[in-house]
Symmetry: D2
Subunit: 315 residues, 4 copies
């Protein structure tokens, strides 16, 4: 099994993505970055999700950067309790998991694990890219030892989610995104546009999942309650969105990508309206070398099947 570290701001779909990762990879560790909801809540959400999955091998959880590279200690980044519920788990308010977070900083864990397993640790990035950017800045030599980063972030010349111009992960820490995109590490990007086109689970899908009647399926239904309502009202999307799960599924099985191409991708950090905008330079008007493989089409049926397999397996 391929080894991964998964970096997550655990709330909502991050949990299903975590289940998917533990199902499809040898997860060396889970690192938490500030993002969706209160940081400590995210840590608890990750630990609880691992408890739900009950994996054979111990999966350690490391606390990382609580907020973006450039915010000061007093400032806070924008969280999205409206999307995922106050606890980021559809207002489920689960009990605390027994497992506790590790000592040591997520950034050091990433560096140490990568340096001691050169060429073996892929990164699954489903949160603002703060931890990964910090790791690259602290030890730039890791760029030669990471075979691939799969990133959920940005949007390919399409509508964003947190603003019209930007997707949440890139919006929260565009400077971190810029550092990672230009690091030289091979990257696959799955944007918010792929999520809205191919990952939506509508009421019928939810019924089908509920009927699986496993612990996994019950968990899925539970944590998606708030986001279903939010999506209908705000994004006018008729179902729940699964960007992070889609990213992990694609990393596990690249054939899910029906179409992809390498493009020059960059992130706006200076704009007044466009902070966090991801430029995907389809027609290469900039003349820059492509640096990112961008997912452009997904085999939706295979993806759904993958998710159902995961949820079925957790009994």
């Amino acid at each position: 099994m391929r080894k991964v570290i998964i970096d997550t701001d655990t709330a909502g779909d991050d949990t299903i993505a975590l289940l998917t990762a533990m199902h499809s990879f040898k997860v060396e560790g889970v690192t938490i970055t500030g993002g969706n909801v209160d940081f400590d809540q995210q840590v608890e959400n990750a630990l609880y999700t691992i408890q739900v999955a009950n994996p054979e091998e111990y999966v350690p959880v490391y606390k990382g950067m609580e907020g973006p590279l450039l915010t000061s200690v007093v400032e806070r980044h924008q969280t999205v309790e409206d999307v995922h519920g106050k606890d980021g788990m559809g207002d489920s308010f689960f009990e605390k998991a027994k497992q506790r977070p590790e000592q040591g900083h997520a950034v050091d864990f990433i560096i140490d694990k990568v340096k001691s397993n050169p060429g073996e640790i892929n990164l699954l990035a489903i949160a603002p890219l703060t931890n990964i950017a910090m790791a690259i800045k602290k030890d730039p030599t890791i760029i030669y030892d990471i075979p691939h980063i799969y990133i959920m972030g940005g949007t390919n010349n399409s509508l964003g989610n947190i603003t019209a111009a930007a997707e949440y992960n890139f919006f929260v820490d565009p400077e971190a995104a810029k550092i990672v995109l230009h690091s030289g590490i091979p990257i696959t990007l799955v944007g918010w546009d792929m999520c809205t086109k191919y990952s939506i689970m509508d009421d019928d899908d939810h019924k089908e999942i509920e009927n699986l009647s496993t612990k996994g399926s019950a968990f899925f239904i539970q944590i998606n309650k708030v986001v279903m309502k939010f999506n209908k009202e705000v994004h006018r999307l008729n179902g729940t969105t699964h960007p992070d799960t889609l990213l992990v599924a694609i990393a596990a099985n690249e054939e899910l990508m029906a179409k992809s191409n390498k493009y020059f991708v960059d992130v706006e950090t200076k704009g007044e309206l466009t902070r966090g905008y991801s430029m995907v330079d389809i027609n290469n008007r900039s003349g820059h070398e492509p640096n990112v493989r961008v997912c452009e089409e997904v085999n939706r049926n295979q993806f759904k099947e993958h998710v159902l397999d995961v949820l079925t397996s957790i009994s």
Copy 2:
């Protein structure tokens, strides 16, 4: 017939848009803004196009701003001879028209014509918005006297043309675009995305047009030679693009718009990658009042028919 002033950086599709405007409106005047190619060449292109149309009533041409609001006298904005040919007319190098441009500045012409015909003069804007912004700044009271501006510009959460982030007209003078969009004048926006989806004329369309065997159809074929090649190579579009003609046709017949909605639209003027990016805030994440009606779908067949009618009528 409704009265219009058409503001154009006459090159390529601007000419067919001019023919369409003279066919469908009482054109009170043509004003030239710096844009596609050399300014004086644009003036000649407009005059030549009027000569081709040979309209019953005299259509005056006014020279306006030769470049964007903020460039200094010595700087030049980016022109696009690669798209439209050196002369902006498919390298046709036509003879000079007999009609000459008027004395007086386009900005003053717009103000005077609007103020002496309050509520009657619609603007068709198919170029960078420099002239119109200058007119608004010089006499802000015109905003109450202009019933509507139809603008070809920007792109609705889609790929740009001059950069991945921006469409040419907004890119060249984003500050002017910002002034016009926030002026309070009612606006309909037809973006580059509508052009690539609904306005393309492919080889078969060109043959059909050629077979009309009118002076108009011959002119169409002639001036589109360079852009056909450019589009195939750079934009991977299999045909010629007609954003300006689409804008004028929609202004003439709003039923061509199969779908449109009012959204908050703004322009990025500060970004590093996103200068000229048009934010179309579909899900109103910004909370701002909608200020622009945005065209979202076009009846392609009706549009094509409209163009063929225009070209047939010029014999």
Copy 3:
């Protein structure tokens, strides 16, 4: 007598500068730009000041741009009634002057006057540079016909007044300042630093002026009442400041400049803290060609004498 147009946002020291200009030049016209206080109030202030001076030849007043290049019609720029009083005249609330503003726009007046007197009309700029920038944009050929612009604006590597980084005139319309500074017209710049070092009139000076017992001296005392208080409280300056009068006096008698040098000068338009900051590149770290003669020292005694002469002459 040398011919000038003086462009002013008439309030406070602008009035004494106007008196000085009428005393020292043939003033072809006064043009009003949006700045210090309500626009129409500024127009009245200019007209009233001309009435106080009672010049032999008629001095026309033209209304120009009511606000900066880039603000929309609804937005307003920052005015400074706290500095100059509600009426911009030390809360004097004078009666309306008999003279009325001219028909025609200040921008057109500048262009027409300059084009019909090539090489003869110097500009005295003691307001945001909106009118002058608009004139340059509307008819760029005037740059060859204006021998010199004297500008009160910016600050030479010193504290600003409206923000720590910026002087008011440049802050209100930095884009206009940029256009003028890079126009190629020969420029002399007198910054806010010269004003705080050499133009301050303290209580003793005010007594000396009061004792002149002329109409001019009474007017001086009257309009400076609010600013004296403001300067003590906000800028910790012990007296009234006369940046505009200093500018005009220097234009009238360049020997008042005890030291000046040509430097590259530019204006920040993009900064978060530094909008309107004037870069005076003393050690030429940028490598750009000098474009502005910057006043670095003033003969204070001669300046004061000049002001007293002006006030004495108005009886």
Copy 4:
């Protein structure tokens, strides 16, 4: 003796500052940040300087961030070999010191040392603030444990050195400077303006120092050869500049500050001309709470005496 960590981009005056620090404080460690010259050369310069000082207690040297927070791995920040010589030591090309740098990262060293000595470790910052900002971001709780940071950086409404607008340390990493200035840690700032007014050693001073005939004085003369020439040509300053030494001397003896005040200080990160500009809001036009004590006058004689004492003591 008070405990300090000194963070330095060791080249030129950083060396004399290091000597001064070892003379006046218990130096717990020297941390190296990318700045003046090649990073590894800076490390060697620090080690060599310690060897020159030959301190009683071992002073460890830790390698830190090789460049600013936001540059990508491939980009390089601007170094200044023209100021300090190719080796940053006046082209002296000294032999390698025997002491070698420690294992472990400077950022971790700062965090660990501060956390294990709460309230005891002052920071002397004489380089771009990258290391210190990274430490604050990695463990924000250190802000409560650091009693004071003394920072050489920025300029107080005066001319910069690397650009007209900015001083080198703030220019190289303005984002880091912003994080540190807004961290809440008590700060004293000594700007470039203090350096040019009070720290210059002219030819006479150099002769006096040479005549001390100690190992310290010989070292001073040697490493200052290139900067003397550079200052005369570029900054038109008649002598060598000692910003870092001035900072350390002031930290050691605050009475050297003849005048200081608390102001709101911020750094521009967005400007086109003003990247790294330090806003010192003397008249509090921004209304923000003061966050930095800014040195405004220095007792020059005492400072010179302090330097001579240090150089005399190294024999």
